[in-house]
Symmetry: C2
Subunit: 215 residues, 2 copies
Amino acid sequence: MANAADAAYAVIRGRILDGTFAPGARLKEADLVEFCGVSRTPVREALRRLAAEDFVRIQRNQGAEVKTWSDDDLDDLFDLRALLEGHAAAAAARQISPQQLQRINDAIAEMDAVLASTAPQAEQVAQFLRLNRIVHETVWEAAGSGRLQSMLGRLVEQALIAHTARHYSLARVAQSHHHHQELLDALTAGDAVWAEALMRGHIRAARLTLKAPQS
Amino acid sequence: MANAADAAYAVIRGRILDGTFAPGARLKEADLVEFCGVSRTPVREALRRLAAEDFVRIQRNQGAEVKTWSDDDLDDLFDLRALLEGHAAAAAARQISPQQLQRINDAIAEMDAVLASTAPQAEQVAQFLRLNRIVHETVWEAAGSGRLQSMLGRLVEQALIAHTARHYSLARVAQSHHHHQELLDALTAGDAVWAEALMRGHIRAARLTLKAPQS
DNA sequence: GTGCGCCTGATTGTATACATTAACGCTTCA
DNA sequence: TGAAGCGTTAATGTATACAATCAGGCGCAC
């Protein structure tokens, strides 16, 4: 990351994902110059890139702001995500490698440990989300399509922005955990239809959770 | 398009799509400055945007070149396209408007006329491709997902770049025409399963055509 | 003769100055 | 008092100058 443009991109993106720059917040180039410690040129490049990835919205001569997501947008997003993740799960079931299966298995075992621990709930949830990401990314990887992988990565992160201040209940996490365990069974059995059905349900359940009043 | 950056983007993109800038061709900023009649700043912005859309490939400190597509890349691309276009067709079957149905109907009628005409074959094919685009875009629109629509638009154009010097046989065009006619039946009947199956087949047939030695 | 290293030219990356645009507030007139 | 028009100002859009980097070639040493 010797690049000024890459550095600016990483900084701004990070601040959007962690909620420092909330949805709707105006992103003035001059402010970002100070914030990132580089000149306007790389800042502009970073903003354009973020706009291409749907993280910010740029209007001509009116600057950039963190993109906001309506409920309909999120329905749309999760519909697509369910389709694509389901497709990925089916493809993965057909051709996943033993190493990849093992990685998912390990992640699930770690989830077990995390949920059984006495750590603060926030910490448990954070750990769970990290492991969750590993499970999903391994499935994408096993599906063997770089294009699908990058699309899904973007969709997931867009969903994150919309719910920066998210509170997952332990009940929700436990449900998700069960999905993962069953998914592992389906992948191990090489049952594409089963894996796809499970994954679609898993994603739709996640959408419902984000819709409900947060607990 | 009062913008210099937009103008540069449109020019470069056009030249890539029409084959003037062939896959693999190096795109030097200085050359593009002359070519587009704007300074390096908007040219760079255009290139970054094209890179984000997978039309060009940028390596740090080594400039940009028109992206090349391997056979595997194209298989991957068409797999995804079949999935997404199929999904769009299914959604469209459930909710397409009478106006949209009419538009598809009109396009197909025009195709009939084009294929029955005595115009030069190249002209017939060009007209057919234009109408083909209308049919597909109407289906995407009827599916009601902006995100799906933009994804498909990009996938289609990426496929075009890879086959700039493409020769479609009239036989292939006629096959495609039959697909469209049957798709219209499925959409009119509101049969989502039928529409999806047809569309998936339609896209996979297209992939095979591009793979075969060109006639 | 071959391989390594430096040097040079060309090209991209960055900073900054200037041009342009649009929003906001003021003034003025009805 | 309200609304319309204009000027100011603060932001983005563009051009250009300068810095950093990489590829290729030449020369030297082994």
